[in-house]
């Protein structure tokens, strides 16, 4: 693994007049070539500040950002542009430029003052468009593209810049789920196939955990945690990071759920997809699925139809759908809770 970016004893934050606000400190981490890294963290933890500091737009309070063994904040804008490219959240208004012309702007750090493109530049542009699967968009005017298509073109443009590192700040923020998945898959593929290091900040925990080679987790006022998504789940880092946010992290489902005030246990038996989705429904409802509990849910096949059997205090009820099971289980819980308070 070759580190391309190294953060050394980095402290980030703002200086306003004489007041210094430190957002995060003692950051020591490396970004490797060929890897997709997702930066996660609750709002206000300083994700954007860290991204801005790494991309050279903001000076660090302490420490250094090294890009290819050179200090980022000492490089000229042009030198930096040849090694590092950006994709941002903002919706680009590029007048009447076509997607191809926008991607071509990525060649600017490599062209002379006239901005004239050589055949080699055109090749690189074409390759970038091809890599991002945007061939059909190339001739269209950028303003006529959908948000997802537009972000794809901005990624192609960042790629045409021939950088070592691509930094993407919340680029999926305004996209719907299929588009988000598409962009993430694309970035993962780009990192692996082209050997570029890609750092992406996002709010989309689930997608980040499914796509990233490495997660950088920045909790509020805390230390940056680094590791494979699974490592961070297993060692409890995720739970710790979001503990104050009113949600809890479920290690089994790998998802966040609303914090329960009262833990209710359910014993679930059954197999296959139905059992999996029943479990999700129960968890959504705030139940904890365990191996042994007083309250039992069974998924069985009866007359070629799935049936859910809820057993509580030796009383059994049958339901023909998860929806009905849920309303049934809600009722029994209410009566149990009432009984407990009396």
């Amino acid at each position: 693994m070759k580190p391309i970016i190294r953060l050394k004893n980095l402290a980030i934050g703002y200086k306003h007049r004489k007041e210094t606000t430190v957002v995060a400190r003692d950051i020591n981490v490396e970004l490797n070539k060929g890897e997709l890294v997702c930066l996660l963290g609750p709002n206000g933890a300083g994700k954007s500040t860290l991204m801005r500091t790494i991309s050279g737009a903001q000076k660090p309070l302490k420490g250094q950002v090294l890009l290819d063994n050179e200090i980022v904040h000492q490089l000229s804008a042009r030198q930096l542009a040849k090694k590092l490219s950006l994709v941002l959240t903002e919706r680009v208004q590029a007048g009447m430029l076509t997607a191809y012309e926008v991607v071509a702007l990525g060649r600017y750090p490599h062209t002379d003052w006239t901005g004239k493109l050589s055949p080699k530049d055109h090749e690189q542009i074409q390759w970038s468009i091809n890599m991002t699967g945007a061939d059909e968009l190339a001739g269209r005017v950028l303003s006529e593209l959908s948000d997802g298509e537009r972000q794809k073109i901005m990624v192609a443009r960042a790629l045409a810049q021939e950088p070592e590192v691509m930094i993407l700040d919340e680029v999926t923020a305004f996209l719907d789920l299929p588009r988000r998945v598409e962009i993430m898959q694309l970035l993962r593929k780009l990192a692996h196939d082209t050997g570029k290091a890609i750092l992406l900040s996002t709010h989309d925990m689930d997608l980040a955990m499914r796509s990233a080679d490495q997660i950088w987790l920045l909790p509020k006022g805390g230390k940056l945690h680094v590791g494979a998504p699974e490592d961070l789940v297993l060692n409890g880092t995720f739970e710790q990071a979001f503990i104050s946010e009113g949600v809890s992290f479920n290690r089994f489902s790998g998802a966040f759920q609303m914090q329960q005030t009262k833990e209710d246990a359910v014993q679930l038996s059954g197999e296959g997809e139905e059992a999996v989705w029943t479990r999700r429904a129960l968890e959504r409802e705030g139940f904890v699925v365990t191996t042994i509990a007083k309250r039992k849910v069974e998924v069985v096949v009866r007359n070629n139809q799935f049936t859910w059997i809820l057993t509580e205090n030796t009383q059994s009820q049958e339901f023909d759908s998860i929806y009905h099971l849920m309303s049934g289980i809600r009722k029994t819980r209410e009566t149990v809770n009432k009984a407990a308070t009396h």
């Binding site: 991309s55 737009a57 000229s76 804008a77 042009r78 030198q79 930096l80 542009a81 040849k82 590092l84 490219s85 950006l86 941002l88 903002e90 680009v92 208004q93 590029a94 007048g95 009447m96 430029l97 076509t98 191809y100 012309e101 926008v102 071509a104 702007l105 990525g106 600017y108 750090p109 062209t111 003052w113 006239t114 901005g115 055949p119 055109h122 090749e123 542009i125 074409q126 190339a138 001739g139 269209r140 005017v141 006529e144 810049q161």
Partner: protein, 363 residues
């Protein structure tokens, strides 16, 4: 394998757009059109001179009518050149301002630069009147370098103000601010003019009407170097302007120095707008509408195409407007700004209706 990759033909939902080939075809057409209006402008007036006579007189060929030579060389040629330069300069300045401020309705006039120049000129005229210079005697007050300096300083001051607030406010707010600066300047001007005598006020009023007719040969040694250097500097900035189409954050990430690009381009806009305003008076609408027409005709936002396009189109439209003004009307002369408003106002309305950003609240 030697096949070269060429950019795809731009398409849009509304059909195939112009390819770069047909774009290149438009330049000769515009060029010929400009030459044609140049000659028409020389030939048409209270004394009608046929095109052949114009060409003969222009180059002082043998057998050319001596009266015609005199009319063309002394009266019509300066005016025609002024219109050619003025249109190109204002169109270029308009394009620069629209891209820099990311504002489709920006222009030397809309942002108050013209008003700043007007105020500067008014101050110079008043100062001259108070000090009691010999300005009036030879009617040469417009030819004086101090007028240009006044216009430039006024223009620059307004520009600093506009740049200062442009980062903090929305597109619409900036335009309203520019408009208010214009009114403020007008108010100040009428106060200032109280201190001058009547005849000087009259001269100022004449200048304030805006016309290419007030330019004479002796003005060109100042007008030409300034505007031509402005145009050249403008052309050199095509690349950063293109990058700025993506917004400042992206432009910076492409290695463009935002600060330098802004400063140089704005300096160029002042070099273009201020001298033209100083010698021709405030000319409305041209700087605003020419970039839009150029984008519409060439179907692109690429400054490498737009910069030469606004120059040619600017000259063409300024010549056409001025020609319309001095057609041998039977009663009295039209004002240039009236003609500009007739062409310009509908274009502005169209831009507002077409542009989603201008229409809604999502700025």
């Amino acid at each position: 394998m030697s096949e070269t990759i060429s950019p795809p033909i731009p398409q849009s939902k509304s059909g195939i757009r112009l390819s770069s080939h047909s774009r290149m075809f438009l330049f000769p057409i515009l060029f010929v059109g400009t030459i044609l209006f140049f000659l028409l402008e020389l030939g048409i007036g209270s004394v009608h001179i046929p095109i052949s006579g114009v060409i003969a007189a222009l180059f002082s060929l043998e057998g050319a009518d001596s009266t015609w030579i005199k009319i063309i060389h002394e009266l019509r040629l300066p005016r025609t050149i002024a219109a050619t330069i003025g249109g190109a300069a204002l169109g270029t300045a308009g394009l620069q301002l629209q891209t820099l401020f990311r504002n489709p309705l920006a222009g030397p006039w809309a942002l108050g630069l013209t008003a700043g120049a007007q105020l500067g000129v008014a101050l110079v005229v008043t100062a001259a009147a108070v000090v009691g210079s010999s300005f009036l005697e030879n009617f040469a007050f417009l030819g004086n370098l101090s007028i240009v300096s006044g216009a430039m300083i006024g223009c620059l001051l307004v520009l600093f103000l506009i740049v200062g607030i442009s980062r903090k406010v929305s597109t619409i707010t900036l335009l309203i601010f520019g408009l208010m600066l214009g009114y403020l300047a007008q108010g100040l001007i009428s106060v200032i003019l109280h201190f001058t005598n009547q005849s000087q006020t009259k001269i100022f009023a004449g200048w304030n009407d805006g016309s290419f007719a007030g330019v004479y040969w002796e003005h060109f040694p100042v007008l030409l170097p300034l505007t031509i250097s402005g145009l050249i500097i403008g052309w050199l900035m095509a690349k950063p302007l293109n990058a700025l189409l993506l917004g400042e954050n992206y432009a910076r990430s492409l290695g463009i120095s935002i600060r330098n690009s802004r400063m140089i381009t704005l300096a160029s806009a002042v070099l273009l707008a201020a001298p033209v305003t100083a010698y021709c008076g405030p000319i409305l609408f041209l700087g605003l509408i020419i970039p839009h027409l150029a984008r519409g005709i060439f179907n692109t936002s690429d400054h490498k195409i737009l910069l030469p396009a606004v120059m040619l189109l600017g000259s063409l439209i300024a010549l056409a407007a001025d020609l319309f003004v001095h057609l041998p009307w039977e009663r009295h002369f039209l004002h240039l700004n009236a003609v500009n408003a007739l062409i310009g106002a509908p274009v502005v309305m169209w831009v507002i209706l077409k542009n989603k950003r201008m229409r809604g609240f999502e700025l």
